[in-house]
């Protein structure tokens, strides 16, 4: 058996097959479904671990299947891909555990977990895609797999959110498609290459390349929720909490951001992009998004909506880091892919716990909740401080490299964006913490239920606690080998001409 060929495929298939089996599983076979879910998630983690080790030792993993004459479906494990794969595999397990706890006794679980698995499949595919067409393929699959999850509840609001989501993402996908095809007609290849494959192109084509860049980034920006294409994200928070968690931390939003990284680094090449003059406008768009979304977040009373705007803002850090041309900023942007994921998933898990256990959906209802659910709120606190960028949490590391990179690249204005964002983040997170810990509890919650022996059921409690601990460790142990930061350094060293 040829591992180099099969491993990437297996990683994609592990969740795909599980999803397909779950689809046809009768609703009442709860145990089998849980076993399948957890088993597949564990299997994937093991496979990813093997591959991680392999990539680190210099093995090449690559799957190639013919798709069109001259174009192949390529799954390749490069360093950047591994970062995202490891993130999604790890968080998938936690989210699955969480979702099992969250959706206990609710209808349509087979459908839910089926699409859940598809969603992860698509995300992993996006991560492993070795060329733009493969990327596109999984990117669209992701749109399709998440739509049923968003409208899972079947309410009018959910349908509306789903519709908005589709309008945005399908239009974005169409732009991406045009850009991709156009690129293909110019170059005849779509293979991701470190430092890009376009710099050798005749300068006659440069105007076309700029248009292609805009097309691609706009298409990806929809999912990455770049201003003004972010409208769908706050609406999509009607989805069940595990879905929001996955959407915001790993799957959809990250796929967009990851795509932007791919396009800039492995299609255009960062230095070539800079010479085309397209990075500065992108950085400005990202900055506007960061500030704008933070300001919007201030005014949201719905907890999940506030978190959603926070996501819009935070994900643009990634774009910003990528658009500032310089290795340190790149590190900041890429590592934020992981850091934001871990922190935001914590926050959404906690929001879900509040909603599920106490029926709390609004910030204004959270007064004193820290005393009722200390573990949940402790995790939330860590996540929130991480978002603010307080040391030594994960968010601090990202901000550190972003700021440093900006200074190194001579783009001092970015510092103001970061500072402003820090203040705004503090402004919309700290009142929550304040209310939760120090507010007077009214004594009764909108819809309190007793789940389990602890403050809530263990399946709901353990995932956020683990991710919160991770958020601390990712910061504290940032310099340890195999940490995302060190891995990102490895990625970055490949992207810049020495």
């Amino acid at each position: 058996m040829n591992w180099a060929f099969w491993l990437p495929l297996l990683i994609v298939l592990s969740s795909l097959l599980a999803a397909l089996v779950i689809f046809i599983l009768p609703e009442e076979k709860t145990k089998t479904r849980i076993g399948l879910n957890i088993g597949a998630a564990l299997l994937k983690i093991v496979l990813v671990a093997i591959m991680l080790w392999g990539v680190h030792s210099g093995y090449q993993f690559e799957t190639r299947l013919p798709l069109l004459p001259g174009l192949e479906l390529v799954l390749r494990a490069d360093t950047l891909a591994m970062l995202f794969v490891a993130l999604s595999a790890g968080l998938w397990l936690l989210t699955t555990v969480y979702a099992i706890g969250y959706l206990e006794d609710s209808p349509h679980r087979s459908r839910f977990f089926g699409f859940f698995g598809l969603c992860v499949t698509a995300t992993v595919g996006v991560a492993l895609a070795g060329n733009l067409i493969t990327f596109l393929l999984f990117y669209e699959l992701l749109t399709l797999a998440t739509y049923p999850l968003i409208i899972h509840r079947g309410t009018e609001a959910a349908r509306k959110a789903g519709r908005t989501y589709l309008i945005y993402t399908l239009a974005g996908g169409a732009l991406l498609l045009i850009g991709t095809v156009w690129l293909y007609t110019l170059t005849g290849t779509l293979e991701f290459t470190a430092r890009g494959f376009l710099s050798t192109l005749d300068s006659m084509h440069h105007p076309a390349l700029i248009i292609i860049f805009v097309l691609l980034i706009t298409g990806l920006g929809v999912k990455a929720a770049l201003f003004p294409l972010h409208g769908w994200l706050p609406q999509a928070m009607v989805a069940p909490a595990p879905v929001s968690a996955l959407l915001h931390a790993v799957a959809v939003v990250k796929a967009g951001a990851f795509g932007i990284i791919r396009v800039i680094y492995d299609v255009f090449g960062i230095e070539f992009s800079a010479s085309l003059g397209v990075t500065l406008p992108l950085a400005i768009v990202a900055s506007v998004t960061i500030i704008y979304a933070s300001v919007r977040a201030l005014f949201q009373d719905d907890l999940k909506r506030r978190l959603a705007f926070s996501t819009v803002s935070q994900v643009s850090y990634i774009t910003l880091g990528v658009a500032i041309v310089g290795p340190l900023a790149t590190i900041g942007g890429i590592v934020h892919l992981v850091h934001q994921g871990v922190m935001k998933i914590t926050l959404f898990f906690c929001a879900g716990n509040l909603a599920e256990t106490l029926g709390i959906h609004k910030v204004s209802e959270m007064s004193g909740v820290g005393r009722r659910m200390p573990w949940t709120m402790a995790a939330f606190t860590i996540g929130a401080f991480g978002m603010i960028g307080a040391p030594p949490l994960a968010g601090f590391i990202s901000k550190w490299y972003l700021g440093l990179g900006a200074l190194q690249a001579g783009q001092d204005w970015v510092i103001f964006v970061l500072a402003g964002s820090t203040l705004l983040n503090a402004a919309y997170f700290l009142p929550i913490l304040y209310a939760a810990w120090f507010g007077k509890s009214t004594g009764s919650w909108p819809n309190e239920r007793n789940i389990g022996r602890y403050e809530t059921s263990l399946a709901l409690l353990i995932p956020p606690v683990i991710t919160a601990i991770l958020a601390v460790l990712l910061g504290l142990l940032a310099s340890v080998p195999f940490s995302p930061l060190e891995w990102t350094r490895l990625i970055t060293s490949l992207e810049y001409t020495p």
Binding site: L298, F299, D301, V363, S364, G370, R371, P374, F385, G389, A390, P391, P392, I397, K399, W400, G403, L404, L407, Q408, D412, I415, F416, A419, G420, T422, L423, A426, A427, Y428, L430, P431, I432, Y434, A435, W437, F438, G475, L476, L477, A478, S479, V480
Partner: protein
Amino acid sequence: MNDILWNLLLLSVPGLPLLLAFPPLHSRLPWFRYLAVTPAIIVALMSMTYSIELSWLLFGIGLGIDGQAQLLLGVSALLWIAVATLFSRKTSNSKAVNNLISSLFMLTMAGSFGAILATDLVGFFVFSTLMGYGFYGLLIAGDDLHHQTRRAARIYLVAMIIADVMLFEVLLITALVTENMSFAMAHQGIAQSDYLTLYLWLVVFGFALKAGIWPLHFWLIAVYRHLGSAMAILLCGVPVIIALLGMLRWLPLGETSSITTGVTLQGIGLIGLLYTCFLIFFEWLKNRSFTMITVYTMLLASGLFIIAIGTGLTDATTWIRYENSVYYFIALLSLALAILLALTIRLQQHHTTTTATQVDDNTAMWFERWPATAVAWAGNIGSHTLPEWRSGWLAKVNHLGLLVCVWKRSLAANERNLQGWTVAITLFLTLAAIITLLLIFH
């Protein structure tokens, strides 16, 4: 073997309080507040210079103990013991609140000890941030809280966050010029770089805000007005002293001279001194509040401190001569102030406090009212002397002002009284203006 023991001991100074911050641990231990201080006392008593490098932590963090740190650690441990005693008396009825207060107590303690021991910029920053947030928590934890205290605490928080943002920029600048973030290396690196002036001003501004030095003292006074004795002692003994220490540690004193900066600082310190004298005088005439006078004394001392720093920056050689005395100065200052405060607050509690409510009205600071002030001002010059259309325009502005109010009210959904954000915005704008100016000059 001895090394391992020392490592453990040094690590446990911030580590033990950090560990004890977990409710399951501290709720099962008796005397845990004193227990947490123990390593600090042991280290303070053993006279030895030792340092460790934790390269795996963050970007590499160093902890070390030398004469100066020992002195401060000792004093601060004493203060903590005193505060612990005061704290253990007043406990809340609710177990959850007690746990929360204890956790915050431990976190603040860990932060303050860690900051004293830190031998590099990042470490200091991490620990002082921990201390800052912890302290804010302590300020507002508790069942019956005066709403003015809550407000004052919020102002403290905003001031602290802004200071942290500035210090974060300092960190970035330092990281840009040097790989090694330890104080010694950072000083060397920054002294040779173009960023020196920017660095100096950011550090001074950031820590001055944290220490409440004139003219950035507004939060300090607001906070002190409504504090109990324990918290008052803690405030002067921990956040203020750590901030002063930060200035000493972060500035490349004795290694490089910057005449203009130094002289300007001396000037500011002097004006601060004069201003504080006035304050004390008026306070004496008006209220005879001993607490406030003590606080103003603190301002006085910090003014002196700034003059000293200014002098140090003007002339490196002078600094080296009296460097140690500055450390003694702040150590003694914190002790003296603590004792003074404890006494005055005791005194005050025996007298009836009738003045407090009158003072409350003045706590909204002038810049918190700036939108309204601006509109009022424009109204004054517009509606009386100018034709109709101008006043219509003003009405629109007024409307805008109303919008701001709506904005404020909508914020109130989160927390009843969130005027603190005006402070945040004003400060941020000021900060932006200053940094821009500095960048232009740079």
